[in-house]
């Protein structure tokens, strides 16, 4: 009888220990920091997962950056702890002028910020209209900081809304010498065979600055064929 009690207690104890041993007892971060990369109040079109922002939180022993990836529509968001952070734009990472001083970000609850950048070029007034087996694409490349040359502009076509110079099913290059900065240009872009039979395609125009890996894009447009 006595033994039975002991056994029962043992089982209870083991149960308690198993339940009580919550090693993973950190509270998860709950605050969100979100925002957009903007120029003149307009979100910039970028390559999906191409541009990374860095968040740093000074004052702790383990001083590691928190990478924040920017989506292709220029927005980003991160779930972090409340606190005072510094946000960095990585040198040479995005299609804009280097910005060497960091941005102070205070996060209390949820926080929305716009990060103003100075791009080298932007693509404006893009319009796409299908005509037969080709697209007629009109756009204007405007120079903001023209100390670096324009390398080319590209029209990117894809099956999904994630379309850019890396992921596309067809692309068309317009070399820089055919583009006059600030003057609208219209190009006829043949639709590649793999996309021709579809009901709609996604189209984007990007401009490449020489020496900068990332392009600046228009927002993705869904064009019914």
């Amino acid at each position: 009888m006595k033994l039975k009690y002991i056994k029962a207690y043992m089982i209870l104890l083991i149960g308690l220990m198993a339940a009580g041993c919550e090693f993973d007892n950190f509270e998860e971060p709950k605050s969100t920091l979100s925002g957009r990369i903007v120029y003149n109040g307009e979100a910039l079109g970028l390559r999906s997962n191409g541009v990374e922002l860095e968040l740093w939180q000074p004052g702790f022993d383990l001083y590691q950056k928190i990478p924040v990836y920017v989506a292709q529509d220029g927005t980003f968001s991160a779930v972090i702890f409340d606190g005072d952070y510094k946000m960095n734009l990585i040198r040479g990472n995005g299609p804009w002028m280097d910005r060497t001083d960091s941005i102070d970000v205070q996060v209390r609850g949820s926080q929305i910020i716009d990060v103003e950048v100075q791009p080298y070029y932007v693509v404006n007034n893009a319009s796409v209209s299908p005509s037969g087996n080709s697209l007629s694409v009109t756009f204007t490349v405007d120079g903001v900081n023209t100390n670096r040359d324009l390398e080319f502009a590209g029209v990117y076509m894809g099956r999904t809304s994630i379309t850019d110079i890396v992921r596309n099913e067809g692309s068309f290059n317009v070399p820089a010498d055919q583009i006059e900065i600030g003057i609208p240009i219209t190009v006829e872009v043949p639709i590649p065979g793999g996309l021709a039979g579809r009901g709609d395609i996604f189209v984007r125009v990007g401009a490449k600055t020489s020496g900068v890996a990332e392009l600046v894009y228009t927002q993705v447009e869904n064009i019914p064929l």
């Binding site: 001083y63 670096r148 390398e151 890396v166 992921r167 596309n168 067809g170 020489s210 020496g211």
Partner: protein
């Protein structure tokens, strides 16, 4: 009883006396630890220390460390254990992929040099020889650093902390990229007269040091030239990365001079013992006995139980001797097509008639590869070639004629039979989805051991890893001479092409594309492709992450048997090219990959370290 007690007492007393008399009790030499003055005064023990350092040399892909990454570029893909399929699915190369910061090893070498100079009482000549060898290893380690990270701090002596609370005097900034290359070259030049080890191909000797100069100076020269030629060169304000383009020519001539010395004075020869040119090229790398081509290798030895499992993991499926493993790294069609035909035409395999109307029908499955550069056979096992005297037959399925077109029939197993009694899928595959069967239609031959039992886990392989061989030196000489505008550049390449079965003087002039192509086929799977693409600054174009870019993708070639009874084409073989089915994501190399990331821990500990571009 009393007597016994007395004896006991006596015995105890004796013990106490005999032990306490040992006045040196606290100064006994440990029986299990070698002390500094023992090690550094015994040439055999010093050699032991050296062998430890040789073994710890940083590597990216070799037979024992990182070999799976042979399948991470555009030479091959992963067809082995499906848990490693991530290699076919690299979304983009991470910025710390080639990261190296091995100051532990550098410190050990600095300490060793220090002790050799302070403790050792060996004869001066011997000391000088050991010191040269240590300096060789240290310079080589710095070369491995600079080609991944750009400039790194050059530390050549022991750093000692004095516990005063301020470590800043130990924090060294990064040297410039050019300074590190200069250090590597000048160290190698300094030790040439004293390093000794003549004739050894596992320990460094004069020609090993020259071989490192040949490679390092070539890298520095092309970095200077091609980085400068980019639309916007990759640099840092204090030149921690980036070399002034005006220095290119002097690096190229340093490299050319070193290569010429090796070729003219080294006594090395291209391996040419086997009249079968394909087998000959294979043996040029794996033969250890009297191989005149190998300059420096990492050796393995069965009797010392120093062996590796590379052959177990990569042997062709139908030749395997163990019940698991095999076929991990399978070369892609892109690489196979880079091997030209011996008449000098492009290496593209002919699967269809020129007008695209029909397949080309082959009597034998290996007929399509006839007349190719012999290095193809030496590097890759293609359908119908042999390994260990056994034919590696490959067939992906059958093509059954239905009156107007072919129905493609495959099987969900290998070594299966079609209803007409013939082979459906061969024992060697290829197969679309089964693991440990080729997914591309090719198997790896280079470095896979043809010795019996080498592909079992019990025996394993003792094939060595070739770090430098004369073939590369010829290519280095050709490239440096080409960049310097010297007409004899083409001769160095023709020597290698002649060994591969081309006629004498098969190339009459040289372009940069020729050099890239020759390096790709001659040095495949010898840990060159990444570094070559990086220094030519073409990696981001070759591996652009775009599925439409054939160079970013791995293609396969599947042979099928034609079932068309009553027709002369019945029983012949046709070939289908496609993207390898297990291959998912195109290779994507970003600008930030040209120099690897320096880890945040290093920067935290030493704020003088600046980060690499784009990180």
């Amino acid at each position: 009883m009393k007597l016994f007690k007395r004896y006991m007492l006596g015995l105890a007393l004796l013990t106490v006396i005999s032990t306490s008399c040992d006045t040196d009790f606290l100064e006994l030499e440990p029986p299990n630890i070698l002390l500094d003055d023992q090690v550094w005064n015994d040439p055999k023990l010093v050699t032991g220390v050296l062998s430890n350092y040789y073994d710890r040399l940083p590597t990216h892909t070799t037979l024992t460390g990182g070999w799976a990454d042979f399948a991470a570029y555009d030479e091959a893909m992963w067809s082995g254990y499906s848990g490693n399929d991530g290699l076919n699915n690299i979304f983009s190369y991470s910025f710390n992929r080639w990261q190296l910061w091995d100051y532990g090893l550098i410190r050990d070498i600095n300490l060793a040099i220090d002790k050799l100079n302070t403790i050792s009482e060996l004869p001066e000549a011997q000391k000088a020889q050991f010191e040269s060898e240590l300096r060789f290893i240290r310079a080589y380690v710095y070369f491995e650093h600079v080609k991944r990270m750009g400039g790194v701090p050059l530390i050549t002596e022991e750093l000692i902390y004095d516990f005063n609370g301020d470590p800043t005097y130990l924090q060294n900034p990064r040297n410039t990229e050019a300074e590190v290359y200069d250090f590597v070259i000048s160290e190698m030049q300094d030790i040439l007269p004293t390093i000794g080890n003549t004739g050894s191909n596992t320990r460094a000797n004069r020609f090993t040091a020259l071989a490192v100069i040949s490679r390092a100076a070539l890298y520095a020269g092309s970095l200077a030239k091609y980085n400068g030629a980019m639309g916007s060169p990759i640099t840092l304000p204090n030149n921690e990365v980036g070399i002034d383009p005006s220095r290119a020519d002097s690096y190229y001539s340093t490299s050319l001079q070193a290569s010429q010395t090796i070729i003219n004075e080294g006594g090395y020869n291209l391996y040419n013992s086997n009249p079968d040119l394909g087998e000959n090229f294979y043996e040029a790398i794996i033969t250890k006995n009297g191989n005149p081509e190998v300059i420096w290798a990492q050796d393995y030895l069965l009797s010392a139980d120093k062996r590796h499992g590379f052959t177990y993991d990569n042997v062709a499926r139908s030749a395997r001797e163990d019940n698991l493993g095999s076929s991990a790294i399978t070369p892609g069609l892109n690489l196979v097509e880079d091997f030209q035909y011996l008449d000098g035409s492009s290496g593209e395999l002919k699967t269809h008639e020129a007008d695209g109307s029909d397949y080309i029908y082959y009597d034998e499955v290996n007929e399509i590869f006839e007349g190719k550069d012999a290095r193809l056979y030496g590097t890759v096992i293609y359908p119908g070639s042999t390994f260990r005297g056994q034919e590696i037959f490959m067939q992906a399925g059958v093509m059954v004629w239905n009156g107007s077109s072919y129905d493609r029939i495959e099987s969900d197993g290998i070594a299966t039979e079609y209803e007409d009694g013939g082979v459906l899928v061969a024992a060697g595959g290829p197969h679309r989805s089964i693991q440990e069967v080729s997914n591309t239609g090719f198997y790896l031959r280079k470095y896979v051991d043809n010795a019996v039992g080498a592909s079992t886990r019990g025996i394993r392989s003792e094939v060595w890893w070739v770090r430098f061989r004369l073939g590369e030196i010829y290519l280095n000489a050709a490239e440096a001479a080409y960049e310097l505008g010297q007409p004899e550049a083409v001769d160095y390449i023709n020597v290698l092409r002649e060994r591969a079965g081309f006629g004498a003087n098969s190339l009459s002039s040289l372009t940069m594309e020729d050099i890239m192509q020759e390096r790709r086929v001659e040095l495949a799977f010898e840990d060159h492709v990444v570094w070559d693409y990086k220094r030519w600054r073409v990696a981001h174009e070759k591996w652009s992450g775009n599925p439409d870019n054939p160079e970013s993708m791995i293609y396969s070639l599947y042979p099928y048997r034609v079932v068309r009874p009553g027709d002369p084409r019945d029983g012949k073989y046709i070939f289908v090219k496609s993207v390898a089915p297990r291959f998912r994501a195109p290779r994507f190399f970003q600008m930030g990959n040209y120099y690897s990331q320096i880890s945040q821990g290093v920067i935290d500990a030493n704020p003088k370290i600046v980060r690499n571009p784009f990180h």
